[in-house]
Assembly symmetry: C2
Homo-oligomer: 326 residues x 2
């Protein structure tokens, strides 16, 4: 199944089932007003949602409308929790190498993860209003999962069964503010403004064999101002989502609707390019001896889309955003 | 006004207005089902809530019930965001001195703040279920504020006008897990399980002159297994809540219901004792040359209550919790 959320001005928006072709959509207010509601009552509602999805694909759903991503909010405009990993170790290794730093402790065995703000997510076409170009404005292309309820102490294997939906993420970052917040040890607050999401959240079966080993085996095509920036592949994720969820639930339970991110998709091959500017800058420093790429300017545009290995577009839709002054 | 939240099994609970004497309570389902709802519609609802509060105190409110803190959840069982400062610099200075560490960068001018989980708060008498005594179980007595909507880039002065309610907090911490998470720079995830709150959230006027300069000028009495542990005073807060809110809103807006914590209340005078075990251990290391106090065991109990300088109990009610195995 594919889901999106119509931006109707409410905090949770209105749930839409999206058709297989991603051209039609169906509100289901009699079943679930919002995607958060559907996730909180998943066991009860999933069969009826599936039946409605099948009717939509068969052209037999009453009340179907054209699907317009620009009218949509993030699949979850707010969520109970947003925890973002840094599960592509290649990304961190590039950062460490460029700065001639030792790796963080236990980096190979304990996932890195920060707690993000989850009350104000951006839709796929929402302008990104930020206070200053001097803050080092950067995108981060990621994959993520949305969980059902997760018990405290869940194992990585059992955690995979708690995954309800897969999503595609742009984790906006302010690079001038990050180093100070990392040095304090308290993690990111100012360095991580509102996070954006591609319009469609999908059940894992929508990916076929591209969902396996707790990883999304798809390329993430990233274009900055209409020029290719990178297309790294999700299969190189060093920790799977099961491990990330188990890490998050070590000392607390997670609520239905919790979102766990992969961190910037990053590949060892230089041909893959990057999914964030900070990583390209580190590669330039290592390979060319100097940083040549600046961070984003107001007016800049970013586009991100997940692609199957076979070459066709994935089911998340596109992120297409523009940075503007707040 | 004083507010509490009846635990009725729902995610947001049921709003109660609490009487001045803290012995009676009034549900107001016709005005606001939950405290979160009231905060999201504060400008519209505040006059009617005040009228109902006055009727309750006059013994003229229809539907009033006895107030039973043990039937209550946290005032906000879940909130859009929970950001905890470390605004009593004395606390950090003791930690640094004991470990012979340099202070974090900019510690005097930029507040320390971490992003906490806000989906699963504990009520004032809820058992605290944790996986292992080996994790270094510790309490942290704090004060906090709940905001209305806060615009990005708010000044510290304007931020004070965004404060709707004041709260008393027990920020449960797992000390064996904190140092690793601080070293990664990504902040706390496993080291901060669910946070607990005293049962009553109050409008600032309830504190009279004890609310001034953006600080709560009250002692926080802390008892561990019925023995005095400390009674540090909130007036020594190095950054006021206006500064903490402005720090949090530097690159993002905050939603109505956002909670900002002070961090562990901590005073320079040794006579004040401490509001967390970690700080007492550091004082023992500095003053006695060795750590003598262990962290909590399963079955241990903690009690926290804010007291006015004049010696009478504050309006938040008591936190009375017990640690149990998960």
């Amino acid at each position: 199944m594919k889901f999106a959320t119509l931006n109707d001005g409410s905090l949770d928006g209105r749930l839409l089932i999206v058709s297989h072709q991603m051209n039609r959509a169906l509100p289901v207010p009699d079943l679930a007003p919002s995607l958060l509601h559907a996730l909180q009552h998943w066991e009860t509602l999933a069969p009826a949602l599936l039946a409605r999805s099948q009717a939509l694909d068969a052209g037999q759903a009453h009340g179907a409308i054209d699907f317009a991503p620009e009218d949509c909010a993030a699949p979850l405009p707010r969520s109970p929790q947003w925890l973002d990993g840094s599960a592509f170790l290649n990304h961190g290794q590039l950062m460490d190498k460029a700065f001639n730093k030792p790796p963080p402790p236990l980096v190979d065995t304990v996932p890195l993860m920060y707690q993000g703000a989850s009350d104000d997510f951006l839709g796929s076409t929402a302008d990104v209003a930020l206070p200053s170009e001097a803050d080092g404005i950067d995108f981060e292309g990621e994959f993520g999962v949305i969980t059902g309820p997760v018990p405290m102490g869940v194992t990585p294997d059992a955690a995979l069964d708690c995954i309800r939906l897969l999503v595609q993420i742009n984790d906006w970052s302010l690079r001038a503010l990050g180093p100070h917040e990392m040095k304090t040890g308290f993690g990111f607050v100012q360095a991580k403004p509102s996070t954006a999401f591609a319009p469609i959240a999908v059940t894992p079966d929508e990916l076929g064999s591209a969902w396996r080993d707790g990883r999304i085996h798809m390329r993430l095509d990233v274009q900055w101002n209409d020029r290719r920036f990178g297309s790294p592949h999700g299969g190189e994720m060093s920790f799977g989502f099961g491990q990330l969820i188990a890490h998050a639930a070590r000392t607390r339970r997670l609520s239905a609707g919790c979102i766990i991110g992969s961190g910037t998709v990053s590949n060892q091959s230089r041909d893959a390019g990057s999914a964030c500017i900070a990583e390209r800058r580190m590669i330039e420093k290592i390979d060319l001896g100097e940083i040549r790429t600046d961070f984003m300017r107001f007016g800049d545009r970013i586009r991100m889309q997940a692609m199957f290995d076979e070459g066709h577009a994935g089911p998340f839709g596109r992120i297409e955003q523009r940075v503007v002054p707040a």
